[in-house]
């Protein structure tokens, strides 16, 4: 399975629709403090179905929507789309190209799409269930997670093992 592109719109500091393309190999994400690099990582987690707001560095889900600046009013929704090429048929679907899309409105309503067709959050989560990039993935790593592994906070080591086993 290969990640092809990521589109972020209204999610945290990404007020403007922003698209990234990914190739094989190693992609760097660089920039000054506070420019939005970790927000991109949060967006990917969220699109994959993350429901725990503290894993998104937020107190409530509404906080992931662009909350405005002095010159720009806040957005009414956040939307993130991830497109994959289903090489090696890792995803349990017949499609060769898979696009998952997640939208969340300030009202609290959420929408989910699989290749443009409305679906439930559960459908998205199930798609990635055995791939290693589901919730609590051992493949999305920051220093906070390194600490949790070292302190074995809330049996985090156990969780990682069971995720992969």
């Amino acid at each position: 399975m290969q990640l092809k592109s990521l589109e972020i719109y209204g999610f945290k500091s990404f007020a403007d629709k922003t698209k990234f393309f990914f190739d094989k190999g190693i992609t760097g994400v660089v920039g000054p403090n506070g420019c939005g690099k970790s927000n991109i990582v949060d967006a990917i987690r969220w699109a994959l179905g993350e429901q725990k707001t503290k894993n998104l560095r937020s107190e409530k889900m509404e906080n992931i929507i662009f909350n405005g600046t002095e010159k720009r009013k806040r957005a009414n929704f956040a939307e993130v789309s991830l497109t994959f090429e289903n090489t090696k048929n890792i995803l349990p679907t017949d499609y060769h190209t898979v696009t998952i899309s997640r939208k969340f409105y300030r009202s609290g309503d959420g929408e989910y799409y699989l290749n443009g067709v409305a679906c439930r959050l559960k459908d998205i989560q199930n798609l990635f269930l055995d791939t290693g990039i589901g919730s609590d993935s051992y493949a999305i790593i920051e220093l906070k997670m390194v600490d949790e592994i070292l302190n074995d906070k809330e049996n985090s080591r156990r969780n990682l093992f069971e995720e992969a086993a």
């Binding site: 290969q2 990404f14 922003t18 660089v30 002095e70 993935s137 493949a139 093992f161």
Partner: protein, 161 residues
Amino acid sequence: ATDLFNQAFSQIRDNFKKVFQGLFREGDTCDLQLTEPSNPLDSKIDINAKPKGKRPLTINQLSGGEKTLTAISLLFAIYLLKPAPFCIFDEVDAPLDDANIDKFNQIIRQFSAESQFILVTHNKRTMAATNVMYGVTMENTGVSKVLPVDLMALNLADEQN
């Protein structure tokens, strides 16, 4: 379920020893153990890491960088059991010295044949190890903007500073 777990555990343990030796050095050893081997489905998991010549009583006695490298070894050990299609590291290289950053990036280069890697970083050595980069900026607007970054251009700008 117990067998499945024990098999996965023993494989992760072997991977851990291999990766650890690659990230650390010849003579550095480590181990992974169940605190209650008779109760594998509930037991806590112990990490032992022993750089050559040292005798740390627990991993807590290791330095910041050594601990980070140990945790990274474990994450890669788990990854090797079931490689994820892509891996994202957010500034995980921050506590590492230059030599360890190079080792970290070398092991990523190896695994990048199998998976895509996304590395968020402030470190020049890590940047030099990427294939392509995205530069994120914000200026004073509070709105993020992204542009592909030319590695060549980055090096030239760097030497002028």
